[in-house]
């Protein structure tokens, strides 16, 4: 008790001293304010601080919540001070431009039915930087709303106690633009990264794993770029919907198993690029429905149940120079209409020949196998997969094609694996 009083007095003296200094200097330079864990010390420090000041939160345990930051401040934690919302409240509400929050541990955010409660909420602000924080057991980790030019970098966002079905998202952005989400590790949330109406943003080098639903999920978010991210062991993989101008390069989609799980699910996506990605060990590597002009190039599809499921509603898709290795099924579709082109892919199941030795097979490859057509119509037929019956069907189909959509073919299959 006495100690905390001393601490408090010290804080107040500090704040007062700095205030004086600031006034003397006519507010022209920023001061550094040390904050110690006493009752409401962060609130008080923010109230007293001037625009441009730096708050150094000393190591310790702060029981504070609903901290509104509406002026330009830099808030830095020394030795990861803990701010605990006790499972009832939210912590930071940033409503001012150019706020920086670094090195804090924010934990135990509450849950409410009509408000989305978050560790750090950015509302109507610009140039906010959230870097190197730990956000533990929160409903929502970082929540961005109507904000632009914000950077969310190198945070650890993890939730392991929340209600599975009604939890929130790790990084949630809504009606925002020009964001940079980089180097974060997100796990245990509903969706790792969730974007809705977010444009012109970059998502780089994040790891999103073991989330309940999707590692990455975005809707109505145009012209965003996703590079070098890893999405692993998420309930249903990654879902991308109702967007145009999506660029996805060098990402890893790993090990998403389950009936409704997809490495990457594309629905109503147009004018987009999927390049240099790795789809490994997913139930379905890439699922596409009602897409237009999507270029899928130089990706690796390895050891998936279905490498690609392309619904007949997709048009203008081009699939070029991809490697298909060790998948149970390479491609399936649900109709006979084929409005997509396949060229120069490597299919490990291709058993054609190359007489002119130009490394391109002389006969086309039909990536849709008979049995994939059968299981597309009657899913329970899967039980007979890898039986003598399917082998016979495959051989018969090769001699006399009847079931397989004959327009879905790769006219120039590669003889050797493509170096990427």
């Amino acid at each position: 008790m006495a100690k905390s009083e001393v601490n408090m007095r010290r804080t107040l003296v500090f704040v007062f001293f700095n205030l004086l200094l600031c006034l003397l200097a006519n507010g022209s330079f920023a001061t550094v304010i040390r904050v110690h864990p006493t009752a409401n010390s962060i609130h008080k420090a923010i109230d007293h601080a001037h625009r441009g000041d730096t708050l150094l939160l000393q190591k310790g345990y702060y029981k504070e919540h609903d901290i509104t930051v509406s002026k330009k401040l830099v808030i830095i934690g020394v030795g990861f001070p803990v701010i605990d919302a006790e499972g009832k409240f939210q912590v930071f509400m940033i409503k001012g431009d150019s706020v920086t929050i670094k090195g804090l541990q924010i934990q135990n955010i509450g849950e409410a039915s009509l408000t989305d409660m978050a560790g750090i909420k950015i509302i109507n602000a610009k140039n906010v930087v959230i870097a190197g924080n730990r956000l533990i057991n929160n409903t929502f980790g970082v929540y961005i709303q109507n904000s632009t030019h914000c950077e969310i970098i190198d945070n650890i966002i993890n939730c392991h106690v929340k209600d599975e079905l009604n939890g929130g998202n790790g990084i949630h952005a809504w009606k925002s633009g020009q964001l940079l989400v980089k180097g974060n590790a997100i796990s245990g949330h509903r969706d790792g990264i969730y974007f809705e109406f977010v444009t012109n943003s970059n998502i780089v080098g994040n790891t999103s794993h073991n989330n309940v639903r999707y590692g990455l999920h975005f809707m109505f978010s145009h012209n965003n770029t996703y590079t070098k991210n890893t999405f692993k062991d998420n309930g249903a993989g990654v879902a991308v919907m109702y967007s145009k101008g999506v660029t996805m390069t060098d990402n890893y989609f790993l090990h998403n198993w389950g009936d409704a799980s997809y490495g990457l699910l594309l629905k109503e996506i147009s004018d987009s690029k999927i390049e240099h990605n790795y789809f490994i060990k997913n139930t379905t590597g890439l699922y596409m429905e009602t897409t237009t002009n999507v270029a899928v190039q130089q990706n690796v599809f390895q050891e998936n149940g279905w490498a690609m499921r392309i619904q007949a509603s997709c048009s203008g898709g081009s699939f070029t120079k991809n490697n298909f290795i060790g998948n149970s099924f390479d491609v399936t579709t649900n109709g006979t209409m084929v409005m997509n082109t396949f060229n120069n892919n490597y299919w490990d199941k291709y058993d054609g020949y190359d007489l002119d030795k130009n490394n391109v097979g002389d006969v086309p490859y039909y990536p849709v196998s008979v049995y994939s057509v059968v299981t597309e119509k009657i899913p329970s037929a899967m039980i007979l997969y890898l039986s003598l019956l399917t082998d016979i069907m495959d051989q018969v189909e090769k001699v006399m094609p009847t079931v397989v959509p004959d327009k879905l073919k790769d006219n120039h299959p590669m003889m050797r694996k493509i170096k990427l």
Partner: protein, 142 residues
């Protein structure tokens, strides 16, 4: 011969219509929405249609249900339509024809349909004190 066929169909008709169609529980976190393909997670906004023939279609959002019915020119006669009770999402689903709906952006439903269903006008009014929207019935939604 002809009479026999008629009798056969008559018997079929009686036996098939005697089959009781009922609500099929949704496996949250595993089953996908019929319209948007998203995994159904939020039990406050889920919906389900049981067709005349007894096939169940499940949705994560009332908006998806309505869009699906519109896109597919779904014939509603004889179909059962269920919606989740916003106040008691764990309890039994409501019959859409008897439910009362509110439509507001604050619900933030999975696909922005933003409809919430309530068992009675009274239940909806309690929440509506803050939202000030009209109380809707099933025919208003289409």
């Amino acid at each position: 011969m002809k009479a026999r066929t008629y009798i056969f169909f008559l018997v079929m008709l009686v036996t098939t219509s005697a089959c009781k169609r009922k609500f099929e529980p949704i496996n949250y976190g595993h089953e996908a929405c019929t319209h948007c393909r998203m995994t159904i997670m939020d039990n406050r906004f889920a919906a389900e249609v049981i067709t005349k023939k007894g096939k169940a279609y499940k949705f994560d959002d009332m908006g998806c249900l309505l869009k699906y019915m519109k896109d597919e020119n779904f014939n509603e006669t004889g179909a059962l339509i269920f919606v989740a009770d916003y106040n008691n999402p764990d309890s039994e689903f409501l019959d859409a024809h008897h439910a009362v709906f509110l439509h507001n952006e604050v619900f933030k439903s999975p696909m922005n349909g933003d409809f919430a269903a309530f068992a009675s006008a009274l239940k909806a009014t309690q929440l509506n004190a803050d939202l000030h929207g009209p109380l809707l019935k099933w025919p208003n939604l289409k």
